[in-house]
């Protein structure tokens, strides 16, 4: 069976910006190898050499001019905002002196 070590779980959690408790690390260390083993069944599919099927949407459609249909009204924005002061959104201060190199 594929092994996924607690260090790998913590590494994946770091990449995913997830905070996990040690209980969760242990539980995921139990679950993930079983799911990966199930997914490994893919290797038994006898595949033809035909290419992948591309986008169902023609690329030119994605580049077409978009029609502007308006956005939120000020009152809608105010209603959704976590905080509102002097006609400005108030959000958590996240760019402090602390380094954010993670």
């Amino acid at each position: 069976m594929t092994q996924v070590t607690p260090e790998e779980i913590r590494h994946l959690a770091g990449l995913s910006r997830l905070k996990l408790s040690e209980t969760e690390v242990a539980r995921l260390g139990h679950d993930l190898p079983r799911i990966v083993e199930f997914v490994d069944g893919l290797r038994q599919v006898p595949l033809t050499d035909e290419p992948l099927i591309g986008n169902t949407v023609p690329l030119e459609a994605l580049r077409a001019d978009e029609v502007s249909t308006g956005g939120l009204t000020l009152s809608q924005l105010q209603h959704l905002a976590p905080g509102w002061e002097d006609n400005q959104l108030v959000v958590p201060a996240v760019f402090g002196e602390e380094s954010d190199a993670a």
Binding site: V4, E98, S99
Partner: protein, 437 residues
Amino acid sequence: MPRDRFNAFLHPDLEPIVGSSGPLTGVEIAVKDNIAVANWPLTAASKVLEGYQSPYDATVIARLKDAGATLVGKTNLDEFAMGSSTENSAYSPTKNPWDEERVPGGSSGGSAAAVAADLCDVALGSDTGGSIRQPAAFCGVTGLKPTYGTVSRYGLVALASSLDVVGPLARSASDVEKVFAVIAGRDEHDQTTFDYTYEPVEVNWSELRVGLPKELWELGIDPEVEAATQKFADWLSGKGATVKEVSTPTAHQALNAYCVILPAEASANVARFDGIRYRASIGDGSLTDRYRQTRALFGQEVKRRILLGTYALSVGHYDEYYQLALRVQAQIRREYDQVFKEVDVLMNPTVPTPPFKFGEKAKDPVAMYQSDLLTVPANLGLVPALSLPVGFTDSQLPIGAQITAHKMRDNLVIAIAKAYQAETDYHMQKPQGTTNG
């Protein structure tokens, strides 16, 4: 909608919204709580979205309002539609109205239970791997997963965008049809939609060819489920259809590919819940700290799928898993192209088993995923599939059969279900203790 004993509805204080006059005037419709209704809560059954209200209507909601529907409330689901039992809701599971010790299926379990318990006429669900059809089968109602691209996803909280589709659940295929006809069609807000107008058809029984995909029928189906579904096959044959065994060699491995594609897309889609853009926000340190602490609010299944997606897309695994899964999906789509030259529809059980008990599969994620074994192929193939009630077990648990057709033949699966329901009453039976039950 007041709080109900099955916990089918969330947000019990909502006042119904009565649409303008149209073909759905008087029809009471419940909405899965991952679909945006302006000024109503939108939680996707997650603590991460607690307190959030949608500022706009999803396209399907705008169309229902224009057609005169009455929106009665929002229904429970597995968090971010990740699950097959509604046990993953952050707001407690929904109970199956046929047996309150059993799950209603998922992820649209609240929608299916609301219809089964007669709390609404129709409910909207979303289906990424079976999330409309599996709960429809478990609750004894009819549910349609439309052809991908016929119904706009604008305003649907994204799970796996290349597979997600919104569709109706109702007691009868006739009500499913009425709602599908209204919500289907191109939408400028969703570029995967295409020009489509629903046109009903009549079944030409003498020319109808029905395929029983042998690889799916061999997947350890519960004997009572198999017997009821076989009886439905016999009914089709009795109407004059040609019923024969066919082969879709890769369909039984669709779930393996789905278990890669879904987490890969889902992990990217839920990256937006970062503690900044929505109301939930925890932490007083750096941006990363706030990001990580806020996302600790996710439930276990969401975390599991985020990690799986990150694993599948990481260096070293991308070709090994993700590219391989996409090649398997492409092969399934080619097999559908082939088999639908040979037959008009495929038919098999919707779920391998009757509804299971709460907690029965909670500790075994693979066993839980396998409850979608028979529904996932239609999602990877982007084709329409409908589940309809075809019987009950000895202990009065509903059994569903699934009819699948080629792209844009949604009208054919609906027509077959309507014809069956004109001659049977499984879809009209109601659980004890509900209205008329």
